[in-house]
């Protein structure tokens, strides 16, 4: 288990116990932090580069729980966690929290929600981070360097922290319920108007149950409760499994819902690797294929039709420069007849990559 996965476990444990308190006060969070002496998470690092990298990872992890789709409470917890990590880190100057423009727009809304709901402690802490210049205002969440070979796999975040989302809750919001109630009232009144007895509708018009809106509401609440219970019990079962795992040195901490995501990621990862590893000569052939069948969309990737074509166009891009290179070289050979003005130098096969002075091995024993 690497240091970073340990970090994830620790942060998630802290957020979990915050979630269990059913509370969003900073005071409560601070108590949990102190119990764990969480600031010591930065202790024992002596090399500055290592320190920077670890701190960056920690901030990045906390930041991701601060964004949707996590529940309100987890997001507040993540904000406190960010504040704690940022303030207690040991780097000089302090490592900053990266925030992408797209995320910032989301975060601004969140801050407004906090203020409107009078969660002043959370709002204050976000404001303080901002005043402390804790942020790097960036284009994207992470640096992108076109690493095709070893694609960094996304660490799986905890599913249990996500806002429960399903078609039922998305479809039937409180607004919708209210609207239904209004329509229903209106409907009843209309029926009364056309009935003989103006105080209640004719039996013949009695086609719908009177309490149906209330019934829907109850059904939904019941469903949500059931779903929550299911989540909790499954995560508990997982936890105990994890404990035994850990004793044996295992690292299974995937939550139930993420198993499918994991499987998908694996498939994607595999297929991606397969594409990336196509040999140079084959890549070349693919380029030619593409340029003869499709017309003018080579330089720029237009609205991707499907995943496959997107991947292909990446390859084409690479191909472009390959072909260009061949071409320039050919042109150069035509133009410049150097008559061996340059030496013939072969590459040494087994030379070591770096040429640092030899390490003086010190022996302690």
């Amino acid at each position: 288990m690497s240091c970073v996965s340990g970090l994830q476990t620790d942060c998630e444990a802290l957020l979990s116990s915050f979630q269990e308190t059913d509370n969003v006060r900073f005071e409560v969070f601070a108590g949990l932090w102190r119990d764990r002496r969480f600031h010591t998470i930065f202790h024992g690092q002596t090399r500055p580069l290592e320190k920077n990298k670890f701190t960056q990872k920690a901030l990045d992890l906390a930041w991701r729980y601060f964004l949707p789709p996590y529940t309100f409470q987890i997001r507040v917890g993540a904000l406190y966690l960010l504040y704690g990590l940022y303030s207690t880190q040991l780097c000089k100057p302090k490592q900053k929290i990266r925030v992408a423009l797209k995320e910032w727009l989301e975060i601004q809304r969140f801050q407004l929600d906090l203020i409107n709901a009078q969660h002043y402690d959370a709002a204050y802490i976000f404001r303080k981070l901002r005043l402390d210049k804790a942020f790097h205002f960036t284009a994207m969440p992470r640096l992108l360097s076109f690493r095709t070979k070893k694609k960094i796999r996304e660490t799986q975040l905890k599913e249990e922290f996500k806002e429960l989302s399903n078609r039922v809750t998305r479809l039937i919001t409180s607004d919708v319920l209210e609207e239904m109630m209004n329509v229903h009232d209106h409907y009843q009144k209309m029926k009364c108007l056309i009935s003989i007895d103006k105080s209640q509708p004719d039996k013949a018009l009695n086609l719908i149950k009177d309490e149906f809106v209330i019934n829907i509401k109850n059904a939904i609440l019941e469903y949500q409760q059931w779903q929550q219970n299911k989540m909790k019990s499954s995560s508990k079962a997982k936890d105990s499994e994890e404990m035994t795992d850990r004793k044996e040195g295992g690292t299974s901490q995937d939550s139930e819902g993420s198993e499918r995501a994991n499987a998908l990621a694996k498939i994607k990862y595999k297929s991606y690797n397969a594409v990336a590893m196509a040999s140079k000569s084959r890549r070349h052939r693919q380029v030619k294929l593409e340029s003869s069948e499709s017309g003018s969309d080579q330089g720029k990737v237009k609205s991707p039709r499907c995943k496959r074509s997107r991947e292909r166009s990446q390859l084409t891009q690479k191909g472009n420069s390959l072909e260009t290179k061949d071409r320039i070289q050919a042109i150069k050979k035509e133009v410049v007849t150097r008559n061996r003005r340059m030496p013939v130098i072969t590459e040494e096969e087994n030379s070591s990559e770096e040429d640092l002075p030899r390490p003086k091995r010190k022996r302690t024993r």
């Binding site: 504040y83 797209k102 910032w104 990737v301 990446q314 320039i328």
Partner: protein, 382 residues
């Protein structure tokens, strides 16, 4: 006009291929949009006194003065500190419940046992010093202070030397440039051995060798970003290196779309439309090609190096291995010979002293048969 192709799209960068690269966006518009969404205080590069008074808090949050004053105490960072004994942040306490610390402790113990750390440690120190050598620097002359709201671009520039051993990890250097800097400023800062290469065979008159270096002879160069070749046209003798490519593309109707050309010296990075994470090209010396990837763009921060004159700022470079003289095994090679009757191998590398001592008599007359070329080692820039 080149550089502002209509497809520049939205100024909010987003993925085109997840985790790999973004869609095309216009750098300057992106910076402007960020600024629209921030306050002056967010952008400021002055170490300002934070307006943390109760009145300011009350106004920002829309709460009462009393609440504001209370918040300060309740949300203080002291709330997170454990009120116990002094502790040494270099030492991991024994009784911690944090898994991170248990793992780190084990890793440190392993490190103690195996002593190979030395090398990695030195490499790490080197990388760290490179990365942070300019952090926090401010200019002596306030005129050179980087303005608030300026953009920082991080570029990876790959070395053209494609050794077999670098197949998987192509070496590169990382530089920071400012959005308001011209492309030519980056061009002038790129150090590449091929600029120092001296063409020619000099075995008969070795003293005449290092007269001209390639940089002075071949000044042409271009950047390629999103369908546009930005050619260096500052010198009258500069050739349009991209012309042959474009003519070739058009004459064969290769389907590369509308390739355009522009003058490198007329464009700043803010003027460009680019994708982050996407490979582009820098070409000079006719065929020396460097892949360029813009890995990050962000607003300047007060902790950054704020001396404009230090940009483009090199923050990472690959430690290239150097060829040593075959004779003394000590100095970096300056000469390489082919078909050398005096050398045990072909090609053979020599430092200047050993080369002359072996190949010429006291009067400077050539001894034996050989071809000699001046050699510039890639490690020269280490």
């Amino acid at each position: 006009m080149a550089g502002s192709s209509g497809s520049a799209g939205c100024a909010v960068p987003e993925y085109e291929v997840p985790e790999l690269h973004t869609r095309v966006f216009h750098v300057g518009s992106f910076g402007a949009l960020w600024k629209q969404n921030l306050h002056r205080a967010d952008l400021s590069v002055q170490e300002a006194v934070a307006e943390d008074g109760a009145a300011a808090v009350a106004e920002d949050l829309g709460c009462g003065l009393e609440t504001a004053a209370e918040l300060r105490a309740v949300c203080s960072i002291d709330m997170l500190k454990s009120p116990d004994k002094e502790e040494d942040p270099e030492i991991i306490s024994e009784d911690s419940s944090l898994i991170t610390l248990r793992i780190r402790k084990k890793a440190l113990e392993r490190r103690e046992e195996t002593i190979i750390v030395d090398r990695t440690c030195r490499q790490e120190t080197f990388i760290y010093e490179m990365e942070s050598h300019a952090t926090g620097k401010r200019p002596k002359d306030p005129a050179n202070l980087i303005e608030e709201g300026e953009l920082f671009l991080t570029l990876n520039i790959f070395y053209p030397v494609i050794f077999q051993k670098h197949k998987d990890h192509k070496p590169y250097q990382t530089v920071l440039v400012l959005g308001s800097q011209k492309l030519t400023e980056l061009r002038d800062s790129i150090s590449c051995v091929s600029d120092l290469q001296m063409g020619g065979e000099f075995s008969s008159h070795p003293d005449q060798a290092p007269e001209h270096i390639s940089k002075d002879l071949y000044k042409s160069a271009f950047f390629y970003f999103e369908g546009v070749f930005y050619n260096d046209k500052r010198h009258p003798e500069c050739r349009d290196l991209s012309r042959t490519i474009i003519e070739w593309s058009e004459s064969h109707d290769r389907g590369y779309g509308n390739l355009q050309t522009a003058k490198m010296e007329d464009y700043t990075f803010n003027d460009l439309s680019i994708k982050i994470g996407f490979p582009y090209l820098f070409c000079h010396q006719g065929d020396c090609e460097h892949i360029i990837i813009i890995t990050d763009i962000r607003l300047v921060h007060q902790d950054d190096c704020l001396d404009r004159t230090l940009y483009p700022l090199l923050i990472k470079k690959h430690w290239l291995w150097t060829r040593k003289c075959f004779v003394c095994k000590m100095y970096t090679a300056r000469w390489v010979t082919n078909e050398d009757s005096l050398a045990p191998e072909d090609p053979c590398f020599f430092c200047d002293v050993c080369f002359r001592m072996l190949h010429y008599d006291a009067e400077g007359n050539k001894l034996g048969e050989f071809l000699a070329y001046p050699y510039v080692d890639p490690g020269t820039f280490n």
